[in-house]
């Protein structure tokens, strides 16, 4: 989860987020080099004494500075499109979880094997333990098995919300009357935190999401305990 000085990505917990971090590294290197180049050129221009009162055009340099940026954009676009289509690949999810956003809590349904439904409310600060995370911990976490393809179906019951888990690279709008679908695979156990990402009223900041990734046998035991 993010701590107080955490500005950029959290460590990835899914292959999709891992690829996004690699793409981010690639793009930031290109941007940093372009910025360095432009700053160098600006310094050169400011600190030289060349003058040309009749400078009108320069066909060669204009061709150069059109083609080179186009090539740079292609170098950025190719990995970007690759990742975009990778995220839409067809896979066979083993589990489907439905998420419904309400004012101001999330509810989850696991209907595949037996009907399990529960609500997930934020634990108020007054009831927090010293070891809890303020404004992030919930009473019922979303338990998901790791190394398993999971289909998430997200909708809302009243106004628009957004289900977000940065460590999994997911941010999906929860829109009333619409089912949005996404596929995730969590490749390590742990707790992954997120917060509602679409303004939805007074307590928009107080409806967090906690995904708890466990191994398959623990997940099956949990499902059995919820059914009983």
């Amino acid at each position: 989860m993010a701590t107080w000085s955490h500005l950029l990505f959290q460590d990835s917990a899914s292959p999709t987020m891992e690829q996004m971090i690699f793409f981010h590294d690639h793009t930031m290197i290109i941007l940093t080099l372009i910025t360095t180049l432009v700053v160098y050129m600006m310094m050169n221009t400011m600190y030289n004494s060349f003058t040309n009162r009749v400078l009108l055009e320069g066909q060669e340099i204009e061709t150069f500075w059109t083609i080179i940026p186009a090539l740079m954009l292609i170098f950025i676009a190719l990995p970007s499109l690759r990742l975009l289509y990778l995220m839409d690949e067809i896979n066979n999810p083993a589990l489907t979880v439905k998420t419904i956003g309400h004012q101001w809590y999330w509810s989850y349904e696991y209907s595949d094997f037996s009907s399990i439904e529960f609500d997930s409310y934020m634990i108020p600060s007054s009831e927090n333990l010293p070891s809890s995370f303020r404004l992030l911990d919930v009473d019922n976490r979303t338990i998901l098995p790791m190394n398993t393809q999971i289909r998430m179906m997200i909708t809302a019951g009243d106004v628009i919300h957004a289900w977000t888990v940065p460590a999994l690279g997911m941010k999906i709008d929860a829109i009333p009357g619409r089912l949005n679908q996404s596929s995730i695979m969590i490749n390590r156990p742990g707790l992954f935190f997120g917060q509602c990402s679409e303004i939805c009223g007074a307590n928009h900041s107080f409806m967090p999401i906690v995904v708890e990734s466990v191994n398959t046998s623990s997940f099956i035991k949990w499902m059995n305990s919820m059914v009983e």
Binding site: F22, D25, F75
Partner: protein
């Protein structure tokens, strides 16, 4: 961009929040770019004795070589990583199927053993 910071008594350089040691191809690209740029700039200066133009040559060479090498290195790394993941997935499946009828490494039929 955060500067140098000490972590567990080891110096760590962050590039936009990421430790540069964790970015594949970062070190090789920048080392190649910096050394090539310096070399080309120095060679140009030795040949022409023009300081500013040599510095420009050196710098633009650094930018170009770093970008080109970075793109090539990341593409190659991405292809290799795909093969590693296939091997890893195959090994995991073989470990799960070991001792069963579908064991890919079995040499003796189970009913003959």
């Amino acid at each position: 961009m955060e500067m140098w910071k000490l972590k567990n008594a080891v110096m760590e350089f962050s590039f936009f929040g990421r430790n540069v040691e964790e970015i594949p191809c970062f070190k090789s690209s920048f080392m190649t770019g910096i050394l090539s740029g310096f070399g080309i700039g120095m060679a140009h200066f030795l040949a022409t004795s023009r300081v500013k133009r040599s510095a420009d040559f050196g710098f633009y060479s650094f930018i170009t070589i770093t970008l080109v090498y970075w793109t090539y290195c990341r593409y190659k790394w991405s292809k290799d990583r795909f093969i590693y993941r296939q091997i890893q997935s195959g090994l995991q499946k073989a470990a799960v199927l070991e001792g069963t009828e579908k064991d890919p490494n079995q040499t003796i039929k189970l009913d003959e053993a």
